[in-house]
């Protein structure tokens, strides 16, 4: 009888074992994060801060980790650096916010700043001791949400018009500076073997932000899509595809696809960003150059969207925030900016450093010029950006695929944006 009981007891133990293991795993998993602790550290204590970004590629990941730790050493801290692929990044950050397991230093892709800042999880940098005098105003705008500065971007980028020098020379075409010149050039450069021009038009952000320079340079706004300026911009932009100077396949092209077409000689000009430069330089026999994106009329300012990754300081405790702010400021130091710019083909957000960059890398001149008058991608739509983004993308695609004319497309886009 006693052995019988003991058997049952051990059976019970076996049955419960998985639960115990599960519980052990669950409690073991929570130790990773650093943020949120109410205790607060003293000034001279060494701290381990955590940083979160999406630089998963090498060498970016290692470079970033080293840079973070160099900066952290100045404030007696080390950094635990974690990178998550960009397509899972926002979900991961939101989860971290929800579980109060926030990193001390958080990278935010600029279009997402309004969403994250709105949560209240980010500390305004103006409340921390940071000097912002040397930055381009446009760069500070990128990190600003509702008049508070939340993030600093050491380096920024934007869009320019790349062109194939050999093809333009052969056709006797000058690099275009206005819309009329762009259309004439695209027409002259289109042959049976290639298109004159190409841009990204895939559903989603890449397709939308290639169009934004046309919208903004024409005086349009993301929140007044049915205004004549916006309709005119869409009509011009999609017209290039409808007239056959741009392949209609662009409705499924990412910026990388557009670059591939350009690099392969199947398009003579493209709208793209400077991050494509390394790949263009590696393409044998390709002679390219770039100019700012053409504007409606000669003399207009080109207003292109400004992109870049911002470094922000999530709300933790005073001491951690103080040191994190220092690291963010250090990441933005001129030497770091120039080094990053040269490595990643981006524009330093410090004006003087940007001029230095042009001396070392003349092909970046057009992009540096563009950045000075650029405007943050979500600057006029703020937290409405996601819906604006989606509707602009649908409008572009329905016009190119012949489902709507620009006027109707923009009216229905605006109707949906207004209804939000």
């Amino acid at each position: 009888m006693s052995t019988h009981r003991r058997k049952k007891l051990s059976a019970l133990a076996v049955a419960v074992l998985p639960i115990a293991l599960l519980a052990a795993c669950a409690s073991g998993g929570g130790g990773g994060g650093a943020g949120g602790d109410a205790g607060g550290a003293s000034e001279d204590e060494e701290l381990t801060l955590s940083a979160f970004d999406y630089y998963t590629d090498e060498p970016s990941h290692t470079n970033m980790g080293n840079r973070l730790n160099e900066c952290a050493a100045e404030v007696n801290a080390t950094v635990e650096h974690r990178s998550v692929p960009s397509n899972q990044y926002n979900q991961q950050v939101l989860q971290a916010i929800q579980s109060r397991d926030m990193p001390d230093i958080l990278m935010v892709n600029n279009p997402d700043l309004p969403q994250f800042a709105e949560t209240g999880a980010l500390r305004p940098l103006t409340e921390l001791d940071i000097d912002t005098s040397a930055y381009y105003e446009s760069v500070l705008n990128v990190g600003t949400f509702e008049d508070e500065l939340y993030g600093l971007a050491p380096n920024v980028n934007s869009l320019v018009l790349f062109y194939n020098e050999a093809m333009l020379a052969e056709a006797g075409v000058q690099p275009p500076t206005t819309w009329a010149e762009l259309e004439a050039a695209a027409a002259a450069l289109t042959t049976p073997d290639r298109y004159g021009f190409v841009y990204a038009g895939q559903a989603g952000t890449e397709g939308t932000w290639t169009f934004i320079p046309f919208l903004w340079s024409n005086g349009g706004s993301q929140l007044e899509l049915d205004a004549p300026e916006a309709v005119e911009a869409l009509e011009f932009y999609t017209g290039l595809a409808l007239k056959g100077y741009v392949t209609k396949d662009v409705v499924n092209y990412t910026q990388a696809d557009a670059k591939d077409q350009f690099a392969a000689g199947r398009a003579a000009m493209m709208i793209n960003g400077p991050w494509q430069i390394p790949s263009l330089n590696e393409t044998e026999g390709l002679e390219w150059a770039s100019v700012p994106i053409p504007v409606p009329n000669a003399g207009d300012d080109v207003v292109a969207p400004l992109g870049g990754e911002l470094w922000t300081v999530p709300v933790t405790d005073d001491e951690r925030e103080r040191r994190a702010a220092h690291i963010v400021e250090c990441l933005n130091a001129p030497e770091t900016q120039l080094e990053t710019a040269l490595q990643n083909n981006t524009v330093p957000s410090n004006e003087e450093v940007a001029q230095q960059l042009i001396e070392e890398m003349p092909e970046m001149a057009s992009i540096v010029e563009t950045v000075a008058t650029a405007y943050p991608l979500t600057g006029d739509s703020g937290t409405k950006w996601p819906i604006v983004n989606e509707q602009i993308s649908v409008a572009i695609q329905s016009v190119i695929t012949g489902q709507a004319d620009p006027q109707t497309a923009m009216e229905s886009a605006q109707a949906i944006v207004s209804a939000e």
Binding site: K8, L12, Q98, Q115, T119, G120, A203, G204, K248, D249
Partner: protein, 333 residues
């Protein structure tokens, strides 16, 4: 230690039994006996539950919790700020009304229906054909059959990327071949009227191995002597298929169709990788739209509402399939 506690139990028995007798007019001996007989029984019940518990906890944590929180989320104004503040005001059915009244809902429903029904039907027919084919003995049968599993083994994101290249309008291999044959190319992914069917083609390609493997397993279970006996009576070919194979394969067919339906209606990765829902929403289904609402537009309440609609539709269809099968097997039995 075990011994002493058992001893303690034993000594406590008469006292408690006496107490119980004092409260209620029950014979003390009976109560004591009941206690003694109950103990092992409660213990074995306890053991039973202890074995069920891990599975139950797993279900509650990984299935119950997400379903319930998805349900509550769909009745809340759940934004990114909610993640930090925890504030999500109740909005009743607003999310559902917004999703259904959005003007896109009709298109989503049509796309989801076409995508699911066409994918599943064609996948099933081809899968069944291949399973019947491989059920015969011929050289290299095993090699060919394992090669057909390839689509299943490749990560979807990779095969989708390859398909996207192949379906490229200007330089994709499909159009190059078509044009080489003197036919005109097709705007596989860029024509709003065609893109959905292009995605269906890819989905069929991905789904065939699954259907084939399960049906092939079912066919192997059918005893060969049935066919021999039928052949003696002159039933071969279609006749033997409809009189032997199909009825005996039916339970497997039901499982394949039900799993296939559930797998197909929630397909997301292929759509995102091939068209991202475009051009102009032409390839958006319930699943891809729910993803876009939640994780691109950050409208978590609406995303949850749409995915709940998706879950309800799946449940209804699954229930119908199960009932239809039960009736059929009742009739057969």
């Amino acid at each position: 230690m075990t011994n002493s506690s058992l001893m303690g139990d034993r000594t406590s028995v008469p006292r408690r039994a006496g107490g119980a007798a004092g409260d209620a007019p029950r014979p003390p001996a009976d109560s004591g006996a009941r206690r003694r007989t109950l103990r092992p029984r409660t213990r074995s019940a306890l053991v039973t539950w202890a074995f069920i518990l891990p599975a139950a906890i797993y279900l509650v944590v990984y299935f119950g919790y997400p379903v319930v929180s998805n349900l509550t989320m769909s009745f809340q104004d759940f934004t990114t700020a909610t993640f930090f503040t925890g504030e999500a005001p109740w909005v009743g059915f607003d999310n559902y009304t917004a999703v259904i009244a959005s003007g896109l809902f009709g298109k989503l429903t049509a796309n989801t229906a076409i995508f699911t029904i066409v994918s599943l039907t064609v996948t099933f027919l081809i899968g069944l054909g291949l399973a019947l084919f491989f059920n015969k003995y011929f050289p290299l049968n095993g090699v060919l059959r394992s090669m057909l599993l390839l689509p299943w083994l490749l990560p979807l994101i990779i095969s989708s990327a390859v398909w996207r290249r192949m379906m490229e309008g200007e330089t994709g291999i499909l159009n190059v071949v078509l044009e080489g044959l003197g036919l005109s190319g097709v705007s596989w992914l860029t024509d709003p009227n065609i893109a959905l069917y292009s995605i269906i083609i890819v989905n069929i390609w991905v789904g065939i191995p699954f259907v084939m493997v399960i049906l092939y397993g079912g066919l192997q279970e059918i005893p060969k002597d049935y066919y021999e006996a039928a052949a003696l009576d002159g039933a071969t070919g279609w006749r033997s298929f409809f009189s032997i194979t199909w009825p005996l394969l039916r339970p497997v067919v039901v499982v394949v169709l039900m799993l296939g339906f559930i797998y197909t209606i929630r397909v997301l990765d292929i759509i995102l990788a091939l068209t991202g829902g475009g051009p102009a929403n032409a390839t958006e289904t319930y699943a891809s739209r729910a993803y876009h609402l939640s994780f691109v537009n950050f409208e978590f309440g609406r995303g949850a509402a749409l995915s709940n609609i998706l879950i309800v539709v799946s449940l209804i269809v699954a229930a119908f399939q199960l009932r239809a099968n039960k009736r059929a097997s009742d009739l057969a039995g």
